[in-house]
Symmetry: D3
Subunit: 339 residues, 6 copies
């Protein structure tokens, strides 16, 4: 089994209970999140011993976050603790016609301010053979970008497998750099790329306007081909496809391509959505899980879409689920009460 390490910001999420709007709340529910942590937590439940690298404040909030991650089998032994603030985000969950809303309060977090020199990549990645990053990290700050850049340099020298979920977020990227200037280099040091149309355009500068609302494998085949051609280092490309009917009903599909073939998963129409945050990260975790176990592309793609679909039923940012629950969804088993 691969030793997977991931690197990124940890966040505390605060969200009104039930279907309240933020301004109606007098309590907020707490969940730990962050794209990379979400990936690590899913992997921890599936038999991996994922390592999370991050930086937390040395106060009660940092303690709370580390406690929740450790309980979920994420190895945080190499997390750094500094004085500073924890990144927060306020999330109003959507329902029916009403979309979700996020108020970010993650500026100047201890993770985004910490000096790149704090990370001794030689030591930190010593026993890892897989490194996962997301496009959120370079979006946060120059320091976060530099740290990531160092990590990728190190990983590519040591021939560590690198996966990336580009994860474009329009409300970040405020530190002064244009993503298309710096992301291509980062992706060129990675092997597995997870991206969608928007991220491909905004972060890699590749316009794929031939992708249509109607889901058609041809378009994704072309997009994969274009990406493989721009990034010959890539071995696999995955393209998550989400169609939003409303905040309570989404259709999720996943396309994968390993250079030898393209494969489009069946679409799962997810209804009665509880919480769609983290669904992409659950998908990413399933992709990493299967690739690190040398599973077939088609199985990987179906497991990925099942993980994403199931995440929509679990409150919080994390997918709390066993592998056999994912496999039941892949097989199309019905959601009876198991008793």
């Amino acid at each position: 089994m691969a030793q997977i390490t991931t690197f990124g910001e940890l966040l505390l999420r605060l969200s009104p209970p039930g279907y309240q709007r933020l301004s109606q709340a007098d309590k907020l529910e707490l969940n730990v999140g962050g794209a990379e942590a979400n990936v690590a937590v899913a992997l921890g439940q599936w038999g991996h011993k994922p390592i999370l690298l991050s930086c937390l404040p040395d106060n009660d909030l940092g303690k709370m976050v580390s406690q929740k991650l450790t309980g979920l089998k994420v190895n945080i032994d190499k997390v750094q603790y500094n004085s500073g603030r924890l990144g927060l985000y306020f999330l109003e969950l959507g329902v029916g016609l009403r979309g979700g809303r996020v108020v970010y309060d993650r500026n100047d977090s201890v993770f985004s301010l910490v000096e790149p020199s704090i990370w001794n990549w030689n030591n930190v990645l010593q026993h890892s053979n897989w490194f996962h990053w997301s496009g959120i990290t370079p979006a946060l700050s120059k320091n976060a970008f530099s740290s990531l850049s160092d990590a990728l340099k190190h990983a590519s020298e040591k021939n560590i497998n690198v996966s990336v979920d580009l994860n474009y977020r329009a409300n970040l990227w405020k530190w002064g750099e244009d993503p298309t200037k710096i992301c291509p280099d980062l992706v060129s040091k990675s092997k597995i790329l997870i991206t969608n149309e928007e991220a491909t355009k905004k972060m890699l500068g590749i316009d794929v306007d031939y992708i249509t609302e109607e889901i058609n494998q041809d378009g994704y085949d072309r997009m994969a081909k274009e990406l493989f051609s721009a990034y010959p280092n890539l071995t696999q490309i995955f393209i998550p496809i989400r169609r939003t009917i409303d905040a309570s009903e989404n259709m999720v599909t996943l396309y994968g391509n390993d250079k030898s073939e393209g494969y489009l998963s069946k679409g799962i129409n997810v209804k009665n959505i509880v919480d769609r945050v983290g669904a992409g990260d659950a998908m990413t975790a399933a992709i990493i899980h299967n690739l690190s176990n040398n599973q077939k592309l088609s199985d990987t793609v179906e497991l990925g879409v099942a993980a994403s679909a199931l995440k929509h039923s679990v409150p919080g940012d994390f997918l709390i689920a066993d592998l056999n629950e994912l496999e039941a969804i892949v097989k199309g088993e019905k959601s009876k009460i198991n008793r």
Copy 2:
């Protein structure tokens, strides 16, 4: 911008949390409501400074109600405080096959008992150029009817714009008067009428049995024509159309007619309903908002149906939403997470 004043009873709503039935509850959630307050609260969020006229008990419950309204930008400076009781209603929200249930406990409320002479309409309506009332007020008591009647007399003398949402409630109207005896006169002092088949029959005595379950503009055109002919004072008529699939799925549509043309909105099929109370009042607020800003009939009708649809996703009686959220629904934008 018009100075809108509305007049009506304030209620405290008590409802079991989650999907509990009333007899299962050991806690009740509190919300302030009342058809006219619901309209005022929506308008307050959209840049109006609505004035609410009402009468509250001079106790901690009256204080609680006034506090919640003031926070939501409703001007309650002219609310009266008397000894007496606050009107209450117990609401069991429906879900799926199970419909909602209301237990009213609003008899002999301080609002319905207060003497008409308490209201100095000359003073109270001094700076208003729009007066909104609903058919709930004359249903409550002789005093409430008389107060409203005085207000309308005053408004018509001062040429204040008057809108009315007829809002028929079978469980009220117990003070001894037949609605068809007194409502026509009240409507004849109004300019904008919002009504549906049932209210038109029960309150105005006009039977519109040509309106069918299947939604057809012809019927509504005929109904509008009949109403304009009976009430030549009216300048606009709006007919909200609701089709109940079950307690969690309703289709809402709105018809409007400004004498020059009739317009039927697109129908919005609202699923995963959180709370349908107040959806009609949200629609009314949107109509008033647009008319007071001299918007087109077709835009008004589409905004009205969007307001009603969105209200179904917000817990409580009030529509808590910005105008741009309504406009996104009018444009058919999808309910993604905004981050």
Copy 3:
């Protein structure tokens, strides 16, 4: 009106609030359950004075359970109190794609350990003319089976009407007996049988593999005929039919046969499911209610499916609903707010 007595284990159900998974919970909601109690509670609301026979621990948990049942009009005067433990079950409610999960913790409960000799059936059934049991009781323990067996012997001697809901649960039946060895005899002492394909096979050893996923009355007619032929003592057979779309949407149908005719109810597609536990028991209660009032088979079947459908909207194991709410569903009335 029949005096109905039912006999079975009482359980305390512990379930995470909202849509949390069990491992996410820091609180559990309490509900009393048990197949026979669920039947009794529904009947108590519909004008019956059902007697529940069971055995509870003589501690605060036994007190809690008896209090909740008494409040719901179940006569528990003959419940026994012994030292021992209360059967528990932990229930994770499903939603959307995610199915529900039950962790049973009912081994060695005071009910399953109590000696058969504790029950003086002569005395206990003295005033009863209807005895209801479920297939859960013989699954629990040798003692529970023997007690039930004694009861049925007594009932058949006294010509008491006996109904049974076979209710097969794969995770029980651990005390060493094969259900097909002992259930046929118990059923042969009963008059009304409620069963489905799985229970018929696993408990009576009759394979009905001609029943297909697609609902077709012919198959059920054949199944009823086969069961009547094997059990000539039976006067009515009911076959509940559930099709699981996902954890939030199920279709429920009910087939009944009184030897003279077979009748298949309309199917009700239940969406936005709140809690599907106890839906079968609600159906059983409706069947008993109607049969004990000598209603028509077709009405009984429609009432049964309405009871089951409505139960899905009520949290907890019990159907909390008046008869007129069921009748409204039978008539297809829409789930408007009643105000």
Copy 4:
């Protein structure tokens, strides 16, 4: 064991959770209360089968109230159901320096409006040999007073034992009669009187200003003597004594006199008070329990004060406690964890 019947209004209490003030609440906790119900509930737990006579609204609230009482072993078979409203009260619990506050909303309740003719006392009191009333009933309305008056007439004819807790409430007594005009006659038909200085003055017109803040048996002996002399029908008199240090600390004492001797209980200093509502009713129940079992005056007085003291630790209006818990307090046992 005596068959005890009590007669009075049932109330639903709504109180903010924790230590919130009413205007801060967005949820209210529900409890059933009413002085006579509180007495009945305590007695039901101690082996009595108390009958409660009252009138409830025939709606979901009436159902909720009857369900909670039945669960607690109060016989409500003779409760009447009428259309009307349930009496409510909003309670803000005090803590430390801040006293509790009650907003009554019980005017025109179904109990206070119901015609005296609804009660067939001959039938209702057929099997009772003990009738308990409180001074709240005649305070509510002319009808409530008349009904009570009829009951006492009937009870005195049948030589039923009558106990009364005078319970003076300044905020009631609004129907137009002076309590000193009508209460003496009611007390003259009773045998056991529970009263304090204020009630004695305001309801019986007897000024006992010799009672001082410092607790001194002589004063109570004199007060008892005076009352026995004014009401020769009385066989026992009890005087509850409460000294309020603050809302979280009270000292409770009880004086009793059975004409042959006066007895002053030890004082119990109750700290960390959870809920002092119903403490007097718990005391009354203990007095009735002991008298109906012919216990000694001194034991009765000590049990009464223990019941009152323990009630302060139980949330809600009811004392939820076994007799052996009271006896442990009488014996001065320490409040260790029982494990």
Copy 5:
């Protein structure tokens, strides 16, 4: 009545429910706070129309905060909205031996970053004759200090009454200035000074080590004299005195001096403390209330200590209480249930 304006940062407080430690929480309760807002909210309930000047983020959190303040009768018409973040603080309430803990997360808040030029003091203070500030504002940032400095310059030119509560917080004051360098000048522009030993030393550089743990008026007389001599502009000095027995029991006392006499309030021993945050601000509000109504020094001091004492019983940062509740405490009335 004086028109009081106050200027300071608004905070959102997040605290675990009940007595949980922060790391145990999975929900946090929301309260709005900030020393100056706390003062304004108390004044708003006592008949003043206080104006709060502050800067809020132009997002849903800013909306939530403004809504809660408006509901509590604070005039926020002049609050500025900017892009940026809201100051937060995480509060773990103490109990018994365990003290409370605060994790501040208010760095770089929109209030502390906003340019001083945003405030047009001429306009903002136009109708005010009282300006209140606290020592928290100059501690936050250079900009906050400069804004305050401008305000005080303006106030002194216009002869507006200025009060200050020095409120020393060791964990703030990080922007690079020594408080003793800048606070004396600010205090020299004020008339009413509220301070304690620590603030006097850390912010004004005056060491008052003659103040002892044992409360003795002589020391406070000397301290007042020293302060009046250093700041001849001062007309009144108030010194709050708190003695912490443990987190649930504190003794509060208040000393006042109006140059003609010194007065030491009675000490109130506050037990069963619910929430001690904001108690000092409640005291300050009471001082301002009484001074602005020209009340006697001794009454002012007793009202101040009553306000502080009562605040300890109210959850949240605000004192929610009427003036008559304070007066009852001044008079030593007992905390009975008012019913």
Copy 6:
């Protein structure tokens, strides 16, 4: 730092929120507990890496328990998972006069049934130099006793330091052995003994009736001497002393003796108790912490009593606190808000 291993049953605690009695609850709060786990959790926060040996069910409840422990830095790598049930206990917290109550439901737990052969002590204790057990383990079952006995045999052979907290529980010890028959041998293999009068008598058969209610060092000196004489293997003896004023106020003291001297801590009077469960285990953890760091006896005793005292303020079975919080209590620092 010592490598501490502890061995014992893990329990799930279910307790009503607030001050509800168990029969009033409709929700139960979840906490993980167990005497040995409580010790381990405290040690984990103070820089140790404690190993917990136990057996959990291989279901969602086992997962929940292991998750909470791992989050709190307890090493559970050697915990066994078997099919079976988790031990539970229902706890009603006391308050004021009302004592706490425990309903145990831990019979036949997976821990008490597991075969002794499952534990490979050689392997399990390989890296440990400290083994801690409590008197609860031998009370549970023959298997639990045998396992413990094996462990102690192994520990004594390897000269591992052994500490024991005798922890007598009258409601356990049901498997057929008299504690005085088997405990002396277990204690004779231990070095540090924590015991009180009751445990000493009931488990070791030594009657120390010279210990009086009034706390007097002489008696404890004599008791220690007697125990050292009976168990020459012991190097230290600790005697926790608790005086229960009521459920909300206890006084805790600790006596220690290391053969060279006896030391009685100062007594801490703990008021406003939140949760006294686990206070003894917190004390034990502090003793182990200090002894394993070779601290002085007097410091150990004071730290132990501080840990116990502070635990009373923390909800749940675990002491959640840093060492510096304990030290502040030892130094007598006041419980101010730290901000």
